[in-house]
Symmetry: C2
Subunit: 223 residues, 2 copies
DNA sequence: AAATTAAACGGACCTCGGTCCGGATCGTAA
DNA sequence: TTACGATCCGGACCGAGGTCCGTTTAATTT
């Protein structure tokens, strides 16, 4: 089987924005960088907007990224921002897209132990370490880009990660409810939690990694 | 040890609103129903506001609970609402307070297996079932009351639940990182996740309960 | 009872996310 | 090259959360 069924669960269809549309719902890994078929001006503005947003975030942090400010910085109307990215979350998500794709490529086709080739439990360990590190790296953006509660688990990127974990779990502990166990593991990497533990509680990342390792071990232990 | 150290971890102090102030940070279980020392008019308005909010929520769902609407329905100025509850989340949280206290009382001092007297693992099982059921019951409100990412894990109610799980875990698996494991278990009961699984994926609650049971078993198994 | 003061009140005001629609622009077909 | 339709643009507009501050009112002191 391939990754075609990650998205198969029936869900209330989201309104078709330009971003996150995802077409026939395979991976979002098709085009490496360019979007489907944007009109020239649209594409130009999109680039300008992403650029402006990145600049703003670098200067004033994630909170400084006002939709109006982004529009102004990109010398573009406010409506254009929303037309292109749907909402604030969409814009911020788009900013994360690059690293997202890189990460997906790494665990889908990269070298072991993250990529295929290593035994599933090994891959799980590597996956947690890698994703945890990435989350910490771009924590502010991740926090700011958090979708509203009722979309949070339906976002394509999230489903891909979840699906991947579930797949590995199925190989390691077929008798378990891997679908749900995957959610359990994902929760460990939740940006809000990481923020709380690392920033607010000053917990070293190593402890989170250790806990991931331990949890994977406990969960994949067949009884 | 008692529950006095659940709140002991150093955290950036939240601005002192009337609600969630929590004073010297024991449990929020002190006064059963009345607030510290509100002026007569303030107390009256508080009651009117909560009443109005509950009415609005019953009529128009959680989305219909506009701060302005609540103020109007309570025949009170908008500023009063914010003075009393800090922000929207505060108001919604206050609405949940009653069942929260009931639940706390149940696992802190109620009959086993939820309350003290049963072996820790038993109590964990009961805890999950009970909290899961409560979450499903008031799901809409729970979703609407979700705090912003950087407060989510610092909210008193949440810390109490987390602390309780951690305590039980410490009794069952002293060698584990119970602090973090408690977060893992809590994640299972996250309203957003429950919403996703039960509402959007139509998953029966029994499956969530089964998964909780299974997870507790896996996690508390000493190696 | 009058004075005093800390607390509460209320609503004008601000910001920001999100919508809308008349007008400008791009790609295409003739 | 021109004409046409689909797409896009832009900024006025709206609603809701949150702030501010002059005014009112409840408790306390004299």
């Amino acid at each position: 089987m391939l990754y075609a069924d990650f998205m198969s669960t029936a869900l209330p269809p989201l309104p078709p924005h330009d971003e996150r549309a995802a077409g026939p719902d395979l991976l979002q890994l098709g085009a490496t960088e360019d979007e489907p078929c944007l009109r020239a001006d649209a594409a130009r503005n999109r680039a300008k907007l992403l650029d402006a947003a990145a600049r703003l975030i670098a200067e004033h942090g994630a909170d400084g990224v006002t939709m109006e400010a982004v529009a102004a910085a990109a010398q573009v109307g406010k409506g254009t921002v929303f037309r292109r990215f749907g909402d604030r979350t969409g814009l911020l998500t788009a900013l994360l897209d690059h690293s997202e794709r890189k990460f997906q490529a790494a665990f889908l086709g990269g070298p072991p132990p993250l990529g295929p080739g290593a035994p599933p439990v090994e891959r799980l360990h590597a996956f947690g370490r890698a994703l945890l590190r990435r989350t910490v790296e771009e924590l502010d953006l991740q926090l700011a880009a958090e979708p509203s509660p009722d979309r949070r688990f339906s976002v394509p990127a999230r489903r891909v990660l979840h699906g991947h974990i579930a797949l590995l779990l199925r190989q390691a502990v077929p008798e378990a409810d891997c679908e749900l166990l995957a959610h359990t593991l994902m929760a460990q990497l939740n940006p809000a939690l990481v923020h709380h533990l690392v920033r607010q509680c000053q917990m070293p990342v190593e402890r989170l990694e250790a806990n991931w390792t331990d949890l994977v071990a406990r969960v994949t232990k067949t009884r």
